[in-house]
C-alpha cells in the first residue's frame, strides 16, 4: 500500500450544478429510467391518465409506494388498506432522512430549507449525497442534495411519460415487457440492498407468502404478508443475534 490519497479540494461553490452532474452519471439514472418506464406502463394498463402517472412520480417519488397505490386503486381494495400499505412500504424513508440530517444541516438552517431536500429523499439520492458529502463544503450540501434529487426525480417523471406512451403504442409482447420491468427491477434492487439475514428472509418469505395470501383471498392480504413474513424474519434475526452475538 502506498501513502493514503491526498484529500481532494473541498468544493466550496456550485453545489447544485455538481449535484445535477453527479445524478446524470450515476447508475441510478439508468435504474430509475427503467423502473419508471415500468410504472408508466402499469398506469396505462390500469386506466389512469398520463398526467396522473407523472404527478404520482413527482409527489410520491417512491417506486414501491406508487405501485401499491396503483394496484390498490382497483375495485375491491379499501382505500384505508391501500393507505396503510403505501405508508408501510415507505418506512425506509424515515431512517435515511434521520441519517441525512446531521450531514446537510447547519446551525443556521431553517426548517423550510430542509423540506425540499427531504422531499427528494429516496435511497438513490441518499446514497449519492452521503457518498459525495465529505468533499463538499457544508454550506453547499443542501444545494448538492437538491441537484441530485431534482435531476433524478425529473428523469423519473419523464420516463413515466415514456413508459405510459410506449405501453399505448407497442404491440402486446413489448407492452407486457414494459410491465415486467417493474417487478424485475424491484426484485434485483431490493436484493441488492438486502445485506442482513433479516432483509433476505423478509424478501424471500414475502415473495412466497404474497401470492399465497392473494390466492386465498384474505382481506388485507398485503398487510398480512408483511406482518407474518416480516415478524418471522425479525424473530430469526433476533435468534441469530443471540447465538452469534456481535463481536
Amino acid at each position: 500500500m502506498s501513502a493514503p490519497p491526498a484529500p481532494e479540494p473541498l468544493i466550496a461553490s456550485g453545489g447544485f450544478v455538481l449535484g445535477c452532474r453527479t445524478a446524470l452519471t450515476s447508475v441510478f439514472a439508468f435504474v430509475i429510467s427503467f423502473t419508471y418506464i415500468g410504472f408508466g406502463a402499469l398506469c396505462h394498463d390500469y386506466g389512469l391518465s398520463m398526467g396522473w402517472a407523472m404527478l404520482s412520480t413527482a409527489l410520491q417519488w417512491a417506486g414501491p409506494a406508487q405501485v401499491i397505490l396503483v394496484t390498490g386503486l382497483g375495485p375491491g381494495t379499501s382505500l384505508i388498506e391501500t393507505a396503510v400499505a403505501v405508508s408501510l412500504s415507505s418506512v425506509r424513508l424515515l431512517p435515511i432522512v434521520v441519517a441525512l440530517m446531521p450531514v446537510i444541516r447547519q446551525e443556521s438552517t431553517r426548517l423550510w430549507q430542509l423540506l425540499v431536500p427531504v422531499h427528494f429523499m429516496a435511497v438513490s439520492v441518499w446514497i449519492e449525497t452521503i457518498r459525495a458529502a465529505p468533499r463538499i463544503a457544508r454550506d453547499q450540501r443542501i444545494a448538492f442534495c437538491n441537484g441530485v434529487g431534482l435531476t433524478l426525480l425529473s428523469i423519473g417523471v419523464v420516463f413515466t411519460a415514456v413508459g405510459y406512451t410506449i405501453q399505448a403504442l407497442l404491440p402486446a409482447v413489448f407492452a407486457a415487457g414494459a410491465m415486467f420491468m417493474t417487478p424485475i427491477s424491484f426484485l434485483v434492487s431490493t436484493a441488492r440492498n438486502a445485506r442482513l439475514l433479516l432483509d433476505k428472509l423478509a424478501l424471500g418469505l414475502g415473495l412466497a407468502i404474497g401470492p399465497l395470501m392473494a390466492y386465498s383471498k384474505v382481506d388485507f392480504d398485503l398487510l398480512w404478508t408483511g406482518i407474518i413474513a416480516g415478524t418471522v424474519a425479525y424473530g430469526a434475526h433476533r435468534l441469530q443475534r443471540r447465538w452469534r452475538p456481535a463481536s
Partner: protein, 113 residues
C-alpha cells in the same frame, strides 16, 4: 369508500402522497430521538421489505392486464433467470434487469399471444 367516489387525484393526495411523505417530514422531527438501529425500526423495516416482496410476487403472477396474456411459467422463469444472472454478475442490477427482460421477451414471443 372506493376510488370512484373519491376521484383519482384526491386519492393520489390522500392515499398516495400523505401516507408516504409523513416519513420524510417525521425524519426531520425525530432526528434526535430515534436510533436507526432501535428494535422497532428493525422490525418495521422487515415488514416493509416483506410487503414490497409480496407486491412484486403479485405483479409477476397477476391475472389481469397485459402481463396476464403471457404464460405464468415465462414470467416466473424470466424473474428467476434474471435473479440468477444478477447473483452471477456480482449483484449487478443492470445485468439482472437486462437478462430478466430479454428472457421474458423471448419467452413472450415464443409462447405468448
Amino acid at each position: 369508500m372506493t376510488l370512484a367516489e373519491l376521484g383519482p387525484y384526491l386519492a393520489l393526495i390522500l392515499v398516495g402522497f400523505l401516507p408516504n411523505e409523513v416519513w420524510r417530514v417525521m425524519g426531520i422531527a425525530v432526528v434526535r430521538g430515534l436510533d436507526e438501529n432501535s428494535q422497532i425500526i428493525v422490525w418495521v423495516r422487515a415488514v416493509a421489505t416483506a410487503i414490497l416482496a409480496g407486491v412484486m410476487a403479485q405483479l409477476i403472477m397477476t391475472t389481469s392486464g397485459a402481463l396476464a396474456a403471457i404464460p405464468l411459467f415465462v414470467r416466473v422463469g424470466a424473474a428467476a433467470i434474471g435473479f440468477a444472472a444478477f447473483m452471477a454478475a456480482r449483484k449487478s442490477v443492470f445485468v439482472g434487469v437486462l437478462v430478466g427482460e430479454l428472457v421474458f421477451l423471448a419467452g413472450a414471443w415464443m409462447y405468448g399471444p
